[in-house]
């Protein structure tokens, strides 16, 4: 079955599907990289407020060239803007928002996700690698809903959705939903439930690409 591999959705399409699942008025933190795509797909009529942990609520789009301010950046250290109604604050207040469960949704990338919602996304644990964690552990411990957006497998075809994470954890049992190019999967107490599969993806194919057992399908 692998020899006729369906391509599934593009990451832009995945981001669009994820954006549809974020209710109007939510406070949202987007991780660096692919998660940032979600901001491009907020449905008409919805208003989300973006938080960046380096001290801004009400983050707006990338500034037009020439208007960048090196003192107005996001957590990825890239220039951003502030929308009307924005607020600046210091780091302890920013993480009080996170740890105090004031944020509704955080969208993160992943190295591995387990069938129980464990997340590994900060280190491959290789000896000699420079460990760097940033705010990921605080985010997964504090934000109400953690959504992962990721390719379903690694570049070399290995499963990212695994029985047990082999990389060091970012948090245990923290992921609510997984959005990949192949499927949208919900982490429930009983296991991984597939909510939707990309066109051409079969149950068998999806399970073959997934190390952890999928216990429910649409």
């Amino acid at each position: 079955m692998v020899d006729q591999a369906p391509k599934g959705w593009t990451m832009n399409e995945v981001a669009q599907k994820l954006a549809l699942d974020i209710p109007d008025g939510s406070y949202v933190n987007l991780g660096i990289g692919i998660p940032e795509l979600v901001a491009d797909h907020v449905p008409e009529g919805r208003e989300l407020i973006y938080h960046t942990e380096n001290g801004l609520l009400g983050m707006g789009p990338v500034p037009s060239p020439g208007t960048e301010d090196p003192e107005l950046i996001n957590a990825g250290k890239k220039p951003v803007t502030a929308l009307p109604g924005a607020a600046y604050f210091h780091h302890a207040d920013s993480f009080a928002m996170i740890r105090g469960q004031h944020l509704d949704v955080c969208v993160l990338g992943a190295l591995q996700i387990s069938g129980k919602g464990d997340l590994a996304n900060w280190s491959t644990g290789e000896p000699g690698a420079i460990p760097a964690v940033g705010g990921a552990m605080d985010l997964v411990a504090g934000v109400k809903h953690i959504y992962v957006i990721s390719q379903h497998t690694t570049k070399t075809g290995e499963a990212k959705i695994v029985r047990e994470c082999t990389y060091p954890l970012t948090g245990k049992g923290v992921v609510s939903r997984i959005y990949t190019n192949l499927a949208i999967i919900e982490v429930q107490p009983g296991g991984l439930y597939v909510l939707e599969m990309a066109p051409g993806v079969t149950k068998e194919y999806l399970q073959a690409q997934t190390d952890a057992p999928l216990v429910g399908f649409p």
Partner: protein, 237 residues
């Protein structure tokens, strides 16, 4: 569109249930959300645990809430102030509970509740009756006591200006417990003198970012508690 401004005091305090924990801002009358408290009395909610620095004056505002027998327990630092008779009388009769907390510990417990910190150590109250029965611990040769964060179901707060996102600025020392009580409540309810257009408040000057606020109501001309007390007014009027 995000719109946290509600049209009436009744809407503002809707849903406060019997038995709820309610934080009420203010230090004396400065920052006391008197109109919200009166609306809470009107709502009928009872068996409340109230977290507030004081216990109110005369028979209006917080004192009226207590006088109307809506408060089962007070968590506060200073229940005995000028013109404060309602709480002392009920307390002496054993009809209201009191958890006395040092003011700085109270503030930090509220901030901790809002910041997702379940507990912290503080030097305040060590070797005093208020630390009895609490866990003590030595760090770097000094003794500290363990205190837990407090969260509330609702907070009633008075601020100066707000926008539709719930961003707030305050007025002078009326700021006091407002910002941390907004943080610590599931539903922070704020009365302001003025609602302004989004973008009017400078993002550098916002004191309480809107994420900590759920409902805003405009009370352009709030009553002065001390004037009501001097006039011997009693709520409900």
């Amino acid at each position: 569109m995000i719109q946290k401004v509600v049209g009436s005091l009744e809407e503002a305090v809707a849903g406060v249930f019997d038995g709820a924990t309610v934080m009420i801002g203010g230090f004396g009358e400065a920052g006391s959300p008197i109109e919200l408290i009166h609306a809470l009395i009107d709502s009928g909610a009872k068996d409340l645990t109230v977290v507030s620095n004081n216990t109110g004056s005369g028979e209006v505002g917080l004192a009226a809430l207590i006088a109307n027998r809506r408060v089962r327990k007070m968590i506060c630092s200073f229940p005995r102030t000028a013109n404060s008779t309602v709480f002392p009388e009920l307390y002496k009769k054993g009809e209201i509970e009191l958890e006395l907390v040092p003011q700085g510990t109270l503030a930090e417990r509220i901030r901790a509740g809002g910041a997702g910190i379940p507990a912290f150590y503080t030097p305040a109250s060590v070797n005093t009756p208020l630390a009895e029965g609490k866990e003590h611990r030595v760090f770097k040769g000094n003794t500290f006591v363990l205190e837990e964060g407090i969260r509330a179901d609702f907070s009633l707060v008075k601020a100066h200006r707000a926008d539709r996102f719930g961003n707030l600025v305050y007025n002078k020392t009326a700021r006091n417990f407002g910002p941390i009580m907004c943080m610590a409540a599931n539903t922070a309810i704020v009365q302001v003198k003025e609602v302004v257009e989004a973008g009017t408040l400078d993002p550098e000057q916002v004191v309480t970012p809107g994420i900590f606020v759920q409902r805003v109501v405009e009370i352009a001309h709030p009553a002065h508690e001390s004037e009501l007390v001097a006039a011997k007014r009693r709520y409900p009027w």
